[in-house]
Symmetry: C2
Subunit: 348 residues, 2 copies
């Protein structure tokens, strides 16, 4: 399979990205071509520095970079030769199967939607993030692509998240829940209540509402929400996990006895840290597009880049886009049979 | 001061609540009268069991209990003699200054709004929860009272949360932020953008948007959001903290070396657990009401009950309701000077 990596736009420069590419090429023989898109000079320097010589590597020069400060839709129009757009072009032209980028999420979404288009029937692309919990891993969708959602968007996120959990994470019948402020059917907002009604009609393992308490308690495998809530939940979890680790470090270095304890238990502490590492999951796919697009964390380092590439090859192998297109078509058929009903207004 | 405790409705029965009351009475001489409201027989049994004999204790019999299953507004109408309603009556009649309950949050809000009424100018009461972070404690408001908010509700939450942070937590000029999916002014939803504009007009230390990453990074002291998002954030944090502790426990018991390390570092681990304990903060006040009302966790045990009572006496001493009424009046005046502007619709 043919993978494109946009090497620009990461926090640590393109050398780190290319080192990650090197590891992925060593680990995954299924990769037949790997395109590095970005500043040619920087790429060549990084290739020499990490001594990457692999016949599968191709380079594509791009004169511009989409920055974190760029307004997504403007940048897509104005920075026509940015690495992210050039990377998408390779998939759009059928020369590659999938793109990985560390850049601006909004820009990536705009470029992907513009260049690749959405899958037939899909109304909005969504970002799926895999979050590790003690006894399972759950998919949070949408983690920030689509701030103001309609019920049909959430319904399609439920379908796409379920496909991803099943095909990539290996949950046979993933438990799909709508994130809400309680588990009773009457809870939530107009948006969640309408989504709830629609999801009941689908061929999903739909468990109804999931509340915050359910997330890390092995009760739900796909957590469906709008991109506003999803972005807040994702970043709050990252912030709290980081906060707990710093509190723990501080407590463990308070005196000699604690320090000795920490030294003896260092394997356990490292295992915990590794498990909670937001980079461990290897990138968040943008689902619903005509092609596979994976967003790696801007701060991703070698290992995270490698994992993002391996996640991407998995997605290609499982033909995620085709499966999503099929299941979205099925869902659309099922919903067409349901009489449309406007949500009941809630008295103020 | 005169405090009312609704002893029914907690997960562990009224004995645990009354044990917590005993500790609070021992710790706080400012309490002059303490009303226990609930089933008289159960109260007497618990008083004997924990040998609480204190001249400040009064008991008030109530024949009913509001359950977790009760629909709040129905229960307020139908269960006229439930302990929660009777407890509110004591404040409404001027016989007491504040109420603490462990029961159904929605029911508590309904009973308090019905019996005590909102403070003049306050449009919706909000639940303020204090969340511990490594280097500060922040107030999350609204944590679940008001699911569908208008901008003026969030603006008033900003004012009330700021008062609470200043008067009770001791932050001189609390940093107030609106929870959003990014810190740039253009982010968020119609609701948050309109709230942003209004908050800029007020006499607050308003820092604009706070995103999830800011919450545990000592960047914000008052996090303002609607009750839907707030409830999800609060419960997600509780769930993740609990999940991390269980992962840590599991790792630490994996082999003898880790176990020994954990034994040596037990002070540090306990300190971490104590710091993250959702009960440690001692109850969440319902702000904006004509009287002080504090919600303790349904699962609260003795120590948490005691802390909730001490938080309540602090709130009474600082005349929180009067300060809020004053600052809401000031905010209303300032906003009246601002030309009304409808939020710009966002193209789909």
């Amino acid at each position: 399979m043919r993978i494109v990596v946009d090497v620009m736009g990461g926090d640590h420069g393109c050398g780190v990205v290319i080192e990650g590419v090197k590891r992925a090429l060593e680990a995954d023989a299924k990769i037949t071509e790997l395109y590095l898109v970005g500043n040619q000079e920087a790429i060549q320097a990084a290739l020499s520095a990490c001594q990457l010589q692999d016949a599968r590597v191709r380079t594509v020069h791009a004169t511009e970079v989409m920055n974190m400060e760029d307004k997504p839709t403007d940048a897509v129009r104005k920075k026509k030769d940015c690495s992210m757009a050039r990377a998408m072009d390779l998939v759009a032209e059928g020369r590659a199967d999938a793109v990985i980028s560390l850049g601006n999420t909004g820009g990536m979404l705009a470029a992907a939607t513009f260049k690749l288009r959405r899958l037939p029937g899909v109304e909005r692309a969504g970002i799926a993030t895999v979050i590790p919990a003690p006894d399972n891993e759950f998919v949070l969708i949408d983690a920030g692509a689509n701030t103001e959602c309609k019920p049909i968007h959430l319904v399609q996120y439920a379908v796409m998240g379920s496909v991803y959990s099943r095909e990539i994470l290996g949950y046979k019948t993933p438990r799909v829940g709508i994130l809400s402020n309680g588990t009773e059917e009457g809870k939530g907002t107009d948006l969640t209540r309408e989504t709830y009604k629609l999801c009941k009609q689908l061929d999903l393992n739909f468990i109804g509402y999931a509340e915050g308490h359910d997330l890390f308690a092995n009760k739900v495998d796909v957590v469906v929400c709008d991109g506003f809530v999803g972005n807040i939940v994702l970043k709050t979890c990252e912030s709290l996990a980081f906060g707990i680790v710093s509190m723990l470090k501080r407590e463990l270095s308070r005196n000699l006895k604690n320090k000795l304890g920490a030294f003896l238990a260092q394997d356990a502490l490292r295992a915990l840290k590794r498990r909670m590492d937001p980079e461990g999951s290897g990138g968040a796919p943008l689902l619903g597009l005509n092609g596979i697009v994976v967003k790696a964390h801007g701060s991703a380092r070698e290992r995270a880049i490698m994992k993002a590439i391996l996640t991407t090859t998995e997605a290609v192998q499982h033909q995620i886009s085709q499966v999503i297109a099929q299941e979205i078509a099925n869902a659309t058929l099922r919903l067409a049979a349901v009489p449309t009903q406007l949500p009941t207004p809630i008295p103020a």
